[in-house]
Symmetry: C2
DNA sequence: CCAGGCCATAGTGTCGACACTGGAATACCA
DNA sequence: TGGTATTCCAGTGTCGACACTATGGCCTGG
């Protein structure tokens, strides 16, 4: 449900539409607007302290980015995220990040490699990783992937991965992590990826990344199936 | 109310925004709005016979799909398509369609394969292909790729390829085809792809598709560089 | 008591008007 | 005359009002 009490983030920056878009995006990612939930324009507009015009434009933008869906004369909903769709998403991610990793291997600097290595070492020593769960680790995982995508130096690819794909994936965050329960394994895979990057071997880099994401996909599929079972059992 | 006057491209379907979005998209693809061209809202709105509200919403949607860019308080432009960006685009395409082809190989039906084979045979006997140029061939190429993408049975992937990527690529159409001058070669590559699909070999199918698109990318790069030279020389 | 249609209402769809911004042409001053 | 300040205009940004559509409750007739 939506907490009606606070208005912690009123809008008054550059373009209202830009600001509102970010805020909406953040709300979706943070789970304030849950998947499949219907959104009422007037309510949101009032909440953000703006009129419906800019809000509708912001909605349209997110519509174009597949975060929101509109049914004519009925309203707007946050995208519906079925297990099947997550599977689809992760296959696309495999393709995209595989390519990003390949390109990164061709042009990444030793400096960047060192930073990534540091990041992984940090993760490895983190107690949270060892216990196999944790919020920080999740964001750390994103960070690792994020940097590699950036290193591809392909603007379009970067914006597709970090702009579109990650937003969608984050919507799943609180539902099912793709890493929980396989943290150490994932860390190993990260190291394998980094080794390939370090060696400047595009083929190996792409392959390593694809294995990593493919494993995450399979794991997520199992996890969601299990969660579904538990839910059914609980009812 | 909207006057009943019939103007070549007036809108009066379901939701104005939907209709206008399609029309705008078509205009961009058809080259009526050229790359980099500035677009004035009032003019367009008048042209389509609607008010600025829905038009702006349509623009926002295409903005989210990267076909249009907006600079605050300045206006809207059709995306700027540099040779570098085409190169980036085609790398993404390689990754995405490679994956689509892999998935297609796993589940394509003999029936579909037969249809694709027919399509290629038709292309091969076309005189246009033999001369190495031609409009039909270009759309035929899209058709081939389109069907394979569909066969992947991954809705998200399909919408990314056919919804986003192809639109963007089409903007380049009249500037530089990725096929002209290598029609027979491309046809061979198409056959190689189809053979792999027919054999149900995902690895080979993906590899074949990637080689095909990679070649197209390299070819397009050379073609654009040459066009640039010619242009410079002409000045 | 139930089925079917009518009406009230909430919410989306569209519009025209007004406010604000950036840029260009012009006027002004040294 | 050249450079700068000023004014004006085209165009974008935002808003509130009105029109239309869908949905749920209510009323009526069987």
């Amino acid at each position: 449900m939506i907490s009606g009490e606070t208005v912690p983030g009123k809008i008054e920056a550059k373009s209202l539409v830009d600001a509102v878009t970010e805020r909406l995006e953040a709300a979706i990612i943070a789970g304030e607007l849950t998947s499949g939930e219907r959104v009422r324009e007037q309510v949101l507009a009032a909440e953000y302290g703006i009129s419906r015009g800019p809000l509708r434009e912001a909605i349209r933008r997110l519509e174009g980015r597949r975060l929101l869906e509109r049914i004519a004369n009925k309203g707007v909903r946050v995208v519906d995220l079925s297990p099947r769709r997550l599977d689809e998403l992760l296959k696309v991610r495999e393709a995209l990040e595989g390519m990003a990793c390949r390109l990164a291997a061709e042009r990444i600097t030793p400096d960047e490699v060192a930073k990534l290595r540091e990041l992984l070492t940090e993760h490895g020593s983190s107690s949270e990783v060892q216990s196999g769960e944790g919020y920080y680790q999740q964001s750390g995982d994103f960070d690792f992937h994020f940097r590699i995508a950036k290193a591809s130096d392909n603007e379009f690819l970067i914006s597709m991965i970090t702009g579109d794909l990650y937003d969608l994936l984050r919507v799943y965050r609180y539902k099912s992590s793709t890493m929980t329960g396989r943290a150490t394994r994932a860390l190993e895979e990260h190291h394998a990826i980094l080794d390939a990057l370090d060696a400047g071997d595009p083929d190996r880099a792409e392959a390593a990344m694809r294995v990593h994401i493919s494993n995450a996909r399979i794991h997520a599929g199992l996890a969601m199936a299990k969660a579904q079972q538990d839910e059914d059992a609980a009812d």
